[in-house]
Amino acid sequence: MKGGMKFQDEFRDRDLVQNMAVNIRRMAERLPAPVNFMEVCGTHTMSIYQYGIRSLLPENVRLVSGPGCPVCVTPIGYVDKALACTADPGNIVATFGDMLRVPGSHSSLMEERAGGADIRIVYSPLDAVSLAKINPDRRVIFLGVGFETTAPTIAASILEAARLGLKNYCVLASHKTMPVPMEILTGDPDLNLKGYLCPAHVSTVIGGAAYRPLAEKYHIPCVVTGFEPADVMQGIEMLLAQALRGESRVEIQYSRAVSWEGNPKAQAILHQLFEPCDAVWRGLGVLPGSGLAIRAEYAEFDAERVLTLDVPEAVENPACLCGEVLKGKLTPFGCPLFATVCTPETPVGACMVSSEGTCAAAYKYGR
């Protein structure tokens, strides 16, 4: 296996995946009506397109893509705020790479960078702290986007900046948390969801137990599922088995990385720095308690409190249907802009930008 990940070959074994498909088709014959399962996480969406999982499933088992790409659900108003941060030449805006081409109302970080704004792509939030350390005369603003997987890493960067006594590091936070949008979508009669493939990496932090209230309240099966093709097939098989037995439990397919309680240390750091707040999700609107705001004790690291930004009113492109795609109500192929006007080179909406975005995955693997 040439230095690759241990067991990776096993989880990509074609014969194994084909056989699981046979088993799923056999199980699906016993379904009284078609079922819709939602894969919540963008990395699942990518994997499902990449390995052609849909083509292995019978017609009565449908996969619907959900709101699990952090860049995609970030509202355009946030992008505009990030763009406003670049206006002051004293600022360095540091970001993960996938925010760069997300269109704001009038521009993107990529366009601003071409125009001379100081925008740096970092791999780790700690790299942004290092930037602040070596540029004491300038302010480094990190774009804090992402779910519970990412929020602890941002929290750790603030703690590191505090430890170093840095006064020129702050975070423009737009973190979101996972189970809340799933509750909203579960109750949506148009989607008629019968099960969730729950996000894998988010769950390494929050743990499988986080989905129990959802499963119990809405009687919907939840399976925390890994990203390799055999993982996804097994997750679907487990959801089908529950559906056939009339059960609605949380199960962990991805047990090699996810426990019931999650990662308590990452949770502790997350809660030390952040508190729940209402948050705007592209396509879903304001969801109560679904975001993370920096706590008052760490106000000096909160860009919203430290900076006075001149942000114009947000203008969405009315033709962009990202919102519908993020709710699972439209596939990319149903959007008239898809692969015509909107491509990875000239994205109109965020779903075409991030590699985890449904439109980007469909463009790359699905056509």
Partner: protein, 76 residues
């Protein structure tokens, strides 16, 4: 964004490890992990931090269960 890569730890110095996948080495911070990790362990690395240690026993068990499905098909 949520991309996490399973990598093998090849060296360790305090909270900083060097981890490897497919011959590519990267530094990662292990301060978010609640459990001890050492050289040879597999971790999921996200945004420069190890966020989870991979459990080999569970990995083997998952593969065994997947193959059981395979065996059932053979008998059918």
């Amino acid at each position: 964004m949520c991309l996490g890569v399973p990598m093998k730890i090849v060296s360790k110095d305090g909270d900083t490890v060097v981890a490897e996948v497919d011959g590519v080495q990267k530094e990662a911070n292990v301060m978010l992990l609640g459990e001890e990790v050492g050289i040879g362990d597999y971790v999921i690395v996200h945004a420069g931090f190890a966020i989870s240690k991979l459990d080999e026993e569970y990995a083997r068990e998952t593969i065994r269960l997947m193959r059981e499905v395979f065996a059932e098909e053979d008998m059918a």
